[in-house]
Symmetry: D2
Subunit: 303 residues, 4 copies
């Protein structure tokens, strides 16, 4: 595989989609992202990195952090998490309260906001500082010691976070939060507001392609746990458009409203694309287009 050529071509193909979609504007700090930025990076299981476009430019990782909180909880606390959060697609917009009500405060999966709040609560309980654990993991895997949370974005999220507060209180009313609601939300906003580049995230996602083994050779997750995260990514990782993403890209992946999408090629590597403008489901128009072009040309879909 000529990965460099593949991602160069993918970024070129995706550039034609720039100008479509809308940058997330529910908080001012995200609204000023450059809609014409586009980057892509691929890290192989052996540590090679290929980049195209704005692959070194940091962006707000937002919901992509949910992949890492989930992995860290499974690493620290094991299967007990699955009594508190499900593994099924939600079939509803990502911030829906309806299913949470009918299913008694057990979120459908760890990648909708409600589920990620429970995962954050668990990581906070296991470690005492959920966001710092995520940052430390990302810095280590990406070898980027400067990777950090943008405090202004975290504060802005908290200020505009009535819907997440509603979710957290609702979950708490069902007895499914161990820590104080405000403490959990603070941690949640802090890990969502981490800034990282495509390169950072491709490197950090490699452990899922390596069946649970970190860059330094240490095993974070069992082979079975890594496979399970990939399965949940494929069925639930891209909001209400998981079917569409599986259909077009055919890889386990996680998107964020900052415009990033991190996808896993089991046994091969991880690939991250980024461009800020989003489709109505909340996924980056050009980043998904880049990944689509990449798997179509390479045949590297899992299907």
């Amino acid at each position: 595989m000529n990965y460099q050529e593949l991602i160069d071509d993918a970024v070129d193909a995706a550039r034609t989609h720039l100008g479509h979609g809308r940058v997330a504007d529910y908080i001012p700090a995200l609204a000023c992202a450059d809609p014409n930025a586009i980057g892509m990076a691929l890290a192989t299981v052996d540590g090679e990195v290929f980049q195209a476009g704005d692959a070194d430019r940091p962006f707000s990782i937002q919901s992509i952090s949910k992949l890492f909180t989930l992995a860290l909880v499974l690493a620290e606390g094991g299967d007990a998490l699955w009594r508190r959060v499900g593994r099924e697609p939600s079939g509803n917009p990502f911030n829906s309260l309806v299913q949470l009500e009918t299913e008694h405060g057990i979120p459908r999966n760890p990648f909708i906001n409600a589920g990620a709040i429970v995962v954050t609560d668990r990581l906070l309980g296991l470690t005492g500082d959920a966001a710092e654990h995520v940052r430390r993991f990302l810095r280590s895997e990406s070898e980027n010691p400067n990777l950090a949370t943008n405090a202004a974005i975290a504060a802005s999220e908290a200020e505009h976070g009535h819907r997440n507060a509603a979710l957290a209180h609702f979950i708490a009313s069902h007895g499914n939060l161990d820590n104080d609601v405000d403490a959990v939300l603070a941690q949640y906003y802090e890990h969502c507001a981490i800034e990282a580049s495509c390169r950072d995230l491709a490197l950090a996602g490699r452990f899922l392609a390596r069946h649970g083994v970190r860059a330094d050779g240490e095993r974070l997750l069992s082979r079975s746990e890594a496979k399970q995260i990939n399965a949940v990514l494929l069925t639930c990782g891209t909001y209400d458009a998981a079917g569409e993403f599986a259909y077009r890209v055919g890889l386990p992946g996680k998107s964020g409203v900052g415009g990033g999408v991190l996808a896993i090629m089991p046994g091969r590597g991880a690939v991250c694309a980024w461009s800020p403008a989003l489709d109505p489901a909340g996924n980056s128009v050009a980043a998904v287009a880049a990944l689509d072009a990449f798997t179509t040309a390479s045949g590297l879909s899992v299907f």
Copy 2:
């Protein structure tokens, strides 16, 4: 890979699950299935077949037929189908009317009952006889000329089919059926009541492992269409437990309340397991256990 040993071991492992779950009993003809039957067959892309247990015993394929109606509609009519049915997980029990109402008669995906009724309507419109088209395809791929519909089961389904009739009339009220409601339902019951063995289905499913190419070398679907069906199978193929199936088995698959589960190994082959007793989600307890054992031992999950 020693496929024979792998499926022998998988069936042995799954036998420990016999006695759990319940045979579908909503119609008498299904209720009398033998709960201790278990079979498994694997057909490689090259045409080799491996079998274990009751792999030659025909059973009611039920919803597994939805995989074939979808493939035949895409082959005959192309992408136009996707304006009438979605590709997202439903996040609800397979016979739910709720989403159909909020989404104006467009079923969430082709594998819930509502979606399969629309697919059947389309196949009927394209060919004039949907069930006969499915039978002909299955006979040809499996080289089993005796494969047929069990008319008693089809009649019994129709008699107890108020819920499907409700779905069909509801879809029709939104203008999303071309043919007469009763004619579509008759075809639907007829293809669900086809009887086939694990061997038959593993052979018939190979075209999806062969990226769209039939046993005789003829292309039924484009590479992209075959990939797309695999993606929809993975996210939506096992009722409300698609996440669980992806998590445990990690292959695109389609189950039926007759107890069969057909799974696709892209590029390698198709594997079918069968045992009549079902879990609460409607999937065979022992067949899923057999597939779980198989992918765990072989590492052949797509993740």
Copy 3:
């Protein structure tokens, strides 16, 4: 009370609303109703009748028939009905399937379509001919022997009745229909397609103002049953706008998409207004305005 002056004034006030709203057009036979027609009639418990406007012109009574089927079922079969249908407002559009699903085929109340189908099934079971029973009752109370079903409208309803067929099959799937689905629907369309005038309906509704006693002095319902029907009318009689109707008019009432609204003044009489153009909730704009003007001027609201 000078009833004649009150209803003359009410009709005059309501005429200013002509031109607003839309005539029901889901079937051709209803779509041709005259949007400028308006009539009102009041019948006292003592048998006096006051009329204004087009009070003698017959119109399609549609859902107003549900009031009479309910009364006749309670008269014939008593309280057993309430095991099969509830008495609570639905809080959802009148033809919703959602609550029916979550509440296992027990419709919320007898005035949503689903509930009226169950009531019709019960009346059919008790009498052998539900629609003929309604017609006979209406003819007798109104002393109008010509009152009849419009067969063309009944046939047209049946032809466009996929949604009601979906409801009926869904109810049947929960075991809550005694008779054949098609037979029940035929009776349902037949009593909905009865044509009567404001005068006919005001006279026919008097038994509820007379606490259950018919025009000829015979008791149809106990005092308690009559009170109960009035209560269900007030909370559920005008589709999803029962609160609005109670708030504006303040009388128990039942509306139909033919544009009629029949309201009960307990202890005093019944008043019916009619004008074909409907608001988005399915209630006649001008008929509700006429009743609003009438209760505001007369102070005859129950509140």
Copy 4:
């Protein structure tokens, strides 16, 4: 009418229901209410008071306070409230989030918790202290200067109030709260935790029977506004059992989980019954039975 005899008999009849139902126990302070207490008081429009049983014993008025916050908001701010809260029955348990989501943060009516939070927010905005305004009104109408909030209950409600916090944040996320979430909730808990007796509440409810005129002859609400509150009480005042209450009692009424029920007899007076044990819908078993017996014997239902 011999009111004294009627309420004596009603309380006697209701005593047979003591021992049924469950005292609210979601907070400790409510759980210790005496399940065998029962009281009833009736205040006529002319100021006569009749009492039976524990009619002078104060209890936690809870949701009955919603009647008074609504009246005070309409008195201070008029119709503008109805842009922020609806007037239709909810058809769902009183604390449901579902409708709030589908209807974009506009609660269905002022008597479900979500609606009462919006009303409290409005009263806080109009007056600067919502709970004090309610207390002052109740003290004045009941001539009971000792009437006060139980601070321990208010604190306990706040502590166990995750579900109300979820509702308030959700409403705020839709821009339908003017004041700070915590400030609104504090006021809400404070007026719910007011303690008053049946006598106090019957006297305080008289203004609705007097078409808006207070005890001192001052007009609080227009005749039309008073009628409107009565209409909303009848259709929405008793949680998910408004139809049942209308059917059995036939008066506009408001219940609270402290076991009180206040009902209005337009033009005649107000009657309050109390007994702590609740039915599954949250209404007092014995208090509703007492009101049922009272209207059945007196014929004073509005129907």
